[in-house]
């Protein structure tokens, strides 16, 4: 038997197609961008041809029609033609306002509660069943409770956002506080720092990356929940807009709303990403 080692390949066989791509687009970002454009183009093409040749439901608008309507909404977002006919900008601002208030209320409850739970393992064990039961509840299940107890639709929307978005912040704050590097605590003990000073000056900044990453998830959930809540509550907001346009059978407006909701969600996420980087000081996020 011949047990000699297989000969190492001297040179990888070059693929002529890859070679051409590599000379035209030398870096990966460029290659990815071109691929992105190709995928986008194919989707739009399929959509346009499909809609024109009647492959889909008759409600389905063509891609070109959707794009032109999209531009119509986006180019004039703040018009007002009577109480029920306003630009999409107004609806987005209303929704954002509710999300900001609801998220802030949620965080104002979740962060102090998370610190308390994180500091005292006994409290953590005692409170854990409540958290585990309430955390997975759908926002829509809270809505009737809110309407029943608060009776005001605006406050109900805020209540629903607060109560569904506070959980990730609560859990991450608890995790961050209870997992502070024990050597930081040893430092404060050797210096004789008070409990309060230790919490404010050491535990909170040490837990900050964790807290902010919880807030990032919470903000995402808040923005996710607002559309559903507004569809049910009605009146104003981007959720109401979507439902109203569905009643008008204006699919292009709904697609416009979907794209804008997605874009704003992305911006919110990136803002929290920046905040996360800003409080991390080289620690892994």
């Amino acid at each position: 038997m011949d047990y000699s080692l297989p000969k190492a390949k001297l040179r990888s066989r070059s693929n002529p197609v890859m070679a051409v791509i590599k000379t035209v687009l030398p870096n990966q970002d460029l290659q990815a961008f071109v691929l992105f454009l190709l995928i986008l183009g194919s989707i739009l093409m399929f959509w346009e041809v499909g809609a024109k040749s009647g492959w889909f439901s008759p409600l389905m608008p063509s891609a070109s029609q959707t794009l032109s309507d999209f531009w119509g909404w986006v180019s004039d977002p703040f018009y007002v033609k009577g109480t029920n006919d306003r630009g999409i900008g107004w609806h987005l601002i209303t929704s954002l306002r509710r999300v900001v208030i609801g998220f802030t209320v949620g965080a104002a409850i979740a962060i102090p509660a998370g610190v308390l739970i994180g500091l005292f393992p006994v409290v953590s064990k005692a409170v854990d069943p409540f958290i585990q039961i309430l955390k997975p509840v759908s926002p829509l299940a809270w809505l009737p409770i809110g309407l029943g107890l608060i009776k005001d639709s605006e406050s109900t929307a805020i209540f629903v956002i607060a109560i569904t978005s506070l959980w990730p912040t609560l859990i991450n704050t608890k995790f961050g506080v209870s997992n502070v590097d024990p050597s930081y605590i040893d430092v404060t003990r050797t210096l004789g720092a008070s409990k309060w000073r230790t919490i404010i000056k050491v535990i909170l900044p040490a837990a900050a990356p964790s807290i902010v990453s919880g807030m990032r998830i919470s903000a995402g959930i808040a923005w996710l929940v607002i559309v559903a809540a507004e569809i049910l509550i009605g009146g104003t907001g981007v959720g109401y807009f979507v439902w109203n346009e569905w009643n008008n059978l204006s699919i292009t407006s709904i697609i416009t709303a979907i794209l804008l909701i997605g874009a704003i969600g992305l911006i919110i996420d990136r803002l929290f990403g920046l905040l996360q980087h800003w409080v991390s000081f080289g620690r892994a996020v």
Binding site: D186, V187, G192, P205, F281, G282
Partner: protein
Amino acid sequence: MMLSMEQENNSPTQQGQDLAQISVRDISMVYRGRSGLIDKITRRTSKDYIALADISFDIAPNTFVSIIGPSGCGKSTLLNLIAGLTNPTSGAILINGSEIYAPGPDRGVVFQNYALMPWLTVAENLHFALETVYPKMSVADRKSRVYEYIELVGLIGAEKKHPHELSGGMKQRVGIARALAIDPEILLMDEPFGALDALTRGFLQDEVARIWEQKRKTVVMITHSIEEALLLSDKIVMMKRGPAAGIDEILNVPFPRPRSRENLDQQSGYHDLKAEMEDHLMRETRAVEASRI
């Protein structure tokens, strides 16, 4: 200068107990096993682990003491006990004659993993320590003190950097500056150079030797390195292996100061001391390894 003169005169000789700055009296440390009723029912009992057994020794003021021993012998436990971060199962630790139960700013601690606050700059890390220990100190005094200690450890220019922008050696210099800035009587160092590469380690040892010539604190340092102990210490506490670790022997290092790495091995008795320590450590380490098979 007064302190250093005194030091020259009496440090190598054994001092009486009344002069001891740190007095470790019959310290034992036992980690309780599981022996409760529920543990017995579920058959998950475990035996008590005796980490340290009846350790006693005294450390005179302004002495540099190294504690050396095989890994797992409870060196760090002993240092944490002196720092007051943990309490002994039995026995007592006296600082200047009075028993301690908690950590305090009379004992500055340098941690192996530096334990710098990542969200504070170099200067802010020192400010935090000073502000905690001396809340009434004026801002101007604090600033000048911070500058003084940053200068002492040779980090002028890096005051506004955050720890993640520093090398390991620089981080530990900040750790040393922070521990010294609060002006403790005693400096406790837990393998301060353990996480550093050999060259940085040597460089920092020289720095610590230089700083000690200036400050002459009572220092207790945990180390694994024989050369490090011989370069820096007045006394070397050699510990036996655990469990129930104790002190094997306390060696005097009579070499004159200031010492230098280059001519340390030409001091009379250097090779004998080193051989004795190597012999001890090899014997203990071999026994530790053998007990694990």
